[in-house]
Symmetry: C2
Subunit: 477 residues, 2 copies
């Protein structure tokens, strides 16, 4: 077999092949390179930096919210790189809830102490990471389509990848010491890996579509700034069954996404009906996006599908291949953790390599170390749709949340106690694994419920006491 | 595009392409042919009838138990064909439980009135069906590997299959009005179909292996017959965590299968240990199989894996493609329903075509009509492992079963009532869908529990009364 990745005979580095140059694949390649591995990164698509705009638009572009876990992973790989990237983010300190009249907005903070999640454009971030790969002199081969994986169960045999170079129409084979699949929810790497091992796998489509929309910058020269609405909030128009969200871009525009069950969008039969629907449900957003853009989006923008993917184990039995990111655990976008979690995959995997000093052992340990946390965040992400689209307008939810956050601020390490709202643990605390966060939240929820009961009981008792007092008074008089 | 399946211009039949010439694929092809469609059946492997023995042995060969649903589907397609095939079955009227001493066997009947399930060799049945296809002049193309499916969402476009003829090393394309995937648990057809539609899918490996063994015929010329043990029972050596089973073949031999969790087989480190394990746990089977055969099986027979597959929907949105059999719902073999259920898929689909007179509509109706029954039998199959390997030796289970079957015999349509043990409904009543069977069983189980409580209470009351009587007597004396 003629191999296309012969390293110099003088190069005694171990080799790693990463498939998929999306966000997680890029970071994985950078991380392995930083550890001194000889890395090759393959990508099916063209280099997005040399592609014309039309094709770029085909990328998924729900804006991303980078939070603590993502930032921490970037910093783990390279502090300076993290700084270079984080220059471009727009911090969002809370949700901004838009009511149905289009006149009232209400801010709900994310953190206990002003912590922010951060808006960034997916394709922009991807390009930043690709530039970092160039800077680190990592070999990136675009337009290489994975055809086959020869992943022997023989312990001492290194896996071989067969790829098709779509530019020169040629099939090439590459042998690596280790291979990493980060090629997304519809991963070809995973499919090939499954052929040679027992991997539990499930994919489930969520009954929901998304349609991307665009709020242009404010080009009024007399305006205070170029943003029509506050850029430092994640804007939500919660309407129970469906919702609209918007995240700011540096240029003053907002990337907005309309989520709904398929039945809702399918019940809308024309762009006129769509305009009417929008005007009724999101009157302020209707004005900001504009009729023409809405008509255009309804007629031409693709409707995205949402799919949950779960797999186990993530590594092959001999510890030479592993899947990470969406290839291993695609989740719905409602907790803003998809990319953060994928980046965390990289950090956890690298820390296991640091710990074991043995990539095979690290791959083998990774599945059990990571499984319950990945299951946990996938479930949280799904549950959070209900929170974003409905609960944020419910008075009891708001009271409870106020109590939750007040306790967080008051207790906060005092008296040897700790109280952390779930959102804080998930988004701002990379030292608390997802599954642990759920566990702590469950305990706190029980206490909150008791407090609510206690308060209610106190009210009733006070009320009864008052009633008794009044009765006594009336009868005495 | 040059198509390889051009039908005569005078042939106005609609065309159907079936992928997979296993049991279910063959029956589907026969069923469509019987309805007047122009059918082509593709199979990846060589024609098993012209293959030498060694390759044949690579087929899965857990013996099959044909029961009512399978027979009814065969008859639906062609009464005479069913007769020709059913000539070769060996009826099994119950389980024969072998105890650990190897000296005691106990028969537990399957049916209320002597109903039987029927042993048949998988590859033999497959060959019978292939012969029937020749008889019906259906075109069967062996050594054709499915590469691609072009399954447009355009309503009026017929799907195109691209296959690779591994005999002449040539790629061919075929266009059909309808395509059917019956290519098993690891279905390539399903994988291709998933690319063009939203299909929920899950595969889960069950922590269990199986190892095939062989009990030779009795060649003692003075023996009563050529069978070492009763051919009209399904033999079980239940040992809780693991078990051995054996089903008779026409030639006097038995196909036997050893099921265990992976940890059990992996804890056995040599063929000597395996012999010791077998002699301890299955002393009578140990003698029948023989040391040499056991050593050989331990060293060379592959260890089978068990995987559950679930999918939804089974058809594509425009109703031109569908998956059936293991491709749609691979289950563990413990209820003996895998093939029966796959055959029933064919019958249900054909009945929907009869009903709607429109294949597209039938494909579209099939998913919802079939989903809950397929989920039901997959779950039953998994639960039945516990029943076969453990419960059959439990005294309370046996008492309850006796009661269940007694009620079945006594009530049996009298007084306008119906009482049917679950096994009877699943294995002997194709008119009761699987999910309905579970529903009825749940109701009956509640009644059985009440009766058990009632009987226990009566015993206690009678006991107390006796005690009172005795006390009274003692004190009077």
């Amino acid at each position: 077999m003629e191999l296309n990745n012969r390293i110099d005979d003088n190069d005694d580095r171990q080799s790693v092949g990463v498939v998929g140059a999306g966000l997680v694949g890029c970071l994985a390649a950078l991380a392995f390179a930083a550890k001194g591995f000889h890395v090759t990164l393959f990508e099916l698509r063209q280099d997005p930096r040399t592609t014309d705009d039309k094709n770029k638009k085909n990328l998924r572009s729900i804006n991303l919210a980078v939070s603590n876990r993502g930032i921490s992973a970037l910093k783990y790989v390279d502090e300076q790189m993290a700084e270079r990237i984080l220059e471009h983010i727009i911090p969002m300190k809370g949700r901004m809830i838009h009511d149905i009249t289009g006149t009232k907005q209400e801010s709900q903070l994310y953190g206990l102490n002003g912590e922010c999640i951060n808006s960034i454009d997916r394709s922009f971030l991807n390009e930043c990471l690709l530039n970092e790969l160039d800077r680190a002199e990592v070999r990136v081969l675009f337009e290489h389509k994975l055809l086959k994986m020869n992943n022997s169960s023989d312990k001492d045999k290194a896996p071989v990848l067969t790829l098709y170079d779509t530019k020169i129409h040629e099939t090439k084979t590459f042998q690596f010491d280790y291979i990493v699949g980060a090629d997304g929810a519809h991963s070809q790497f995973r499919y090939q890996l499954q052929k040679s091992m027992k991997m539990d796998y499930s994919q489930k489509y969520i009954d929901m579509q998304y349609l991307e929309l665009y709020i242009p910058p404010n080009d009024d020269p007399n305006a205070d700034n170029k943003f029509h609405i506050d850029p430092n909030h994640l804007h939500i128009w919660p309407r129970h069954n469906f919702m609209l969200i918007a995240l700011a871009n540096k240029d003053g525009s907002f990337t907005s996404t309309f989520f709904s069950p398929w039945s809702v969008i399918e019940s809308i039969k024309s762009s006129e009906e769509f305009l009417e629907f929008f005007q009724t449900n999101f009157p302020d957003a209707f004005k900001l996006i504009g009729e023409d853009a809405l008509t255009q989006a309804y007629n031409s923008n693709p409707r995205g599908t949402l799919m949950q993917v779960s797999a186990y184990p993530y590594h092959n039995p001999n510890g030479t291949a592993i899947i990470i990111g969406d290839a291993a655990h695609s989740m719905v976008p409602f907790y803003g953790q998809g990319m953060n979690c994928g980046f965390e995959d990289v950090r956890i995997l690298m820390e296991l390599i640091d710990e074991t000093k043995d990539v095979k052992q690290a791959f083998m340990n990774y599945s059990d170390a990571r499984k319950q946390d990945l299951d946990a965040i996938c479930k949280l992400a799904l549950d959070n749709y209900y929170e974003m689209s409905s609960k944020v307008t419910n008075i009891w939810y708001l009271i409870r949340k106020k109590l939750d956050y007040s306790l967080g601020r008051v207790v906060n390490g005092r008296f040897g106690l700790q109280w952390l709202p779930l959102y804080t643990m998930v988004s701002f605390r990379d030292d608390i694994p997802y599954s642990k966060a759920i566990e702590i939240e469950k305990r706190q929820a029980r206490i909150l419920t008791r407090i609510q009961y206690g308060v209610t009981a106190t009210f009733i008792i006070c009320g009864l006491a008052k009633l008794g007092h009044w009765y006594h008074k009336v009868h005495k008089d």
